[in-house]
Amino acid sequence: MTSANTMNSSSSRRQKTPLEHILRVALYICLLGMAAVYLMPFLVMFLTSLKDVEEIRSGTLLSLPGSLNFDAWGKAWGGACTGSSCNGIAPYFMNSFQIVIPAVLISTIIGALNGYVISMWKFKGSDIFFGALLIGCFIPFQVILLPMARTLGWLGIANTTTGLVFVHVVYGVAFTTLFFRNFYQGIPSDLIKAARLDGAGFFTIFRRIILPISTPIIVVTIIWQFTQIWNDFLFGVAFSGFDTQPVTVALNNLVNTSFGGKEYNVDMAAAILAALPTLLVYVLAGKYFVRGLTAGAVKG
């Protein structure tokens, strides 16, 4: 804020020169032009999803559909072919929710407890372990893919929703722990010391003092995990079976299924449907989404 304020207050106090006016106009044109570029792909997807195949062939990307025709949406949801079956993406949409909801909840709870321990109940080695865990945020998952596939097989949860929940929890905990640890690091330790003197134990302090002030970081973590897991493709494609695929995998199959004519309107409708949950979260809670994004980057 400060940089903008100081710079503009100094320039607005005196009369703006014509050059400054021109620059200002150019600035807005530039910003709005870029906004149009960022919006264009989504707009094209939406327009395409409303056209029929003939309109797609004859028109251009940005030409308007003749009528509001949601047939492609219906087909994408309930009738389009994704690989072997033709039930649309609806079942896979549900799969994604079945994976995402438990995975987000479990990884958030574990992350909160870990963060609480690492910031307030340090023990010998806890800092070293935190460092080791942090590196886990960065390893390319390709190095764990095959061993994990074998492990899931041994555990008897290969190709199941449970297996995917397990994988997402295992590799999500590094991030959730980081979020909570950085947040709790900012809480004065006197508060906890006082509570301990009053005889409050580990879980009492967590429940009575820590949890009530954790709402913002819980929201950030849930949104981060939800977005990450919903958008995951690598684990989905490597560890899911035909009927447990998440929606990203189903969408990719749908788009790359090539029997019959290519129905771009259905592809686009399916893509928007697959993106809708995370987009909705972003629109409703963008502030927390951005905070999660930058939390990983700007160390606490």
Binding site: V117, R196, G201, F202, W230, I272
Partner: protein, 309 residues
């Protein structure tokens, strides 16, 4: 800290407190134990396991016949791997540079007391909330030569406009760059905007008093003070680039031929569909090496910085 607190406690009722002292000491470790065990096994253990497999002749199933570094030799004799690695170089470099350029530019522009800044920022950043699979699907449609951008430009009167990068083996990697930049540049913007908002106002006032104009102030004073943000952005972007897998799967599926493969796609294809587990593991280890080559200097400088604070 624990000892101090509990020694104070023990003044009250020594017998009862002694018990809770040991329990209080034990619970945090117990709570962390599952994460510690799982991290050791599922991150570090698996990493070692993959390293071991990369030195065996495993094909469809893991075997433990050691062949030394033979798989790595095969890897670097493999044309498809060289293509994937070259693509990563081109893709990574362009992706990072363009994202940084756009991100810094947009952040500076947005920092000029813009009306409706919030709405514009939201528009720049929304692709980051979308899966790379959706991004790939969208851009596959936009960039396809028969019905996409090319046709639109021709219909608008630019008769000779051609844009066939998506089906051109020499150009297809740039399509990956376009889609990835669309997705991630808003994120860089958000990082830098947060950084700009944190710049010390006095620094800028002083520069203004010295008669520096707005361009000089940014170039000489504000941007240099955002060096840490630059580093973070580069690390995160290179991390995204090295891990890129879904974008290729959705946008080009590696094609035409294998001309747009990235290492992650090579690894997946060889490990899971081409029954070349040894080779796939070797490629995964090279990817890990790439990440570490970026991460270790970064963490080192971060930790050193912390000590200076």
């Amino acid at each position: 800290m624990t000892i101090k607190a509990s020694s104070l406690e023990s003044k009250a009722t020594p017998a009862a407190q002694a018990k809770s002292f040991s329990l209080a000491d034990f619970i945090p470790k117990l709570v962390m134990a599952p994460t510690i065990v799982v991290t050791i096994i599922c991150m570090y253990g698996y990493m070692i396991w993959t390293a071991v497999l990369s030195m065996t002749n495993s094909r469809m199933l893991p075997s433990y016949d050691f062949v030394g570094l033979r798989q790595y030799e095969r890897l670097f004799e493999n044309d498809r791997w060289i293509v994937a690695l070259t693509n990563l170089g081109i893709f990574g470099a362009l992706f990072i540079l363009i994202c940084l350029f756009l991100g810094v530019m947009l952040a500076i522009f947005l920092d000029q007391k813009i009306r409706n800044e919030g709405a514009i920022r939201t528009i720049y950043l929304y692709p980051m909330a979308i899966s790379f699979i959706v991004t790939g699907t969208a851009w596959k449609w936009l960039l396809n030569p028969t019905n996409g951008l090319e046709k639109m430009m021709v219909d608008w009167g630019f008769e000779s406009f051609t844009f066939d990068w998506l089906v051109n083996p020499d150009k297809v990697v740039y399509c990956l760059v376009i889609a990835a930049v669309w997705q991630a540049s808003g994120f860089v913007m958000a990082l830098f905007l947060a950084g700009l908002r944190g710049v010390d106002g006095d620094l800028i006032k002083a520069a203004n008093l010295d008669g520096a104009n707005i361009f000089t102030t940014y170039r000489r004073i504000i941007l240099p003070s955002l060096k840490p943000v630059f580093f973070s952005a580069v690390v995160i972007l290179s991390h995204i680039a090295i891990k890129s897998f879904d974008l290729v799967a959705a946008l080009t599926n590696g094609g035409p031929g294998y001309s747009s493969d990235l290492p992650a796609n090579f690894m997946y294809a060889h490990t899971f569909t081409r029954s070349q587990i040894g080779l796939g593991s070797a490629s995964a280890m090279v990817m890990l090496g790439c990440v570490l080559a970026i991460l270790i200097p970064y963490l080192y400088s971060e930790l050193r910085g912390e000590r200076h604070d």
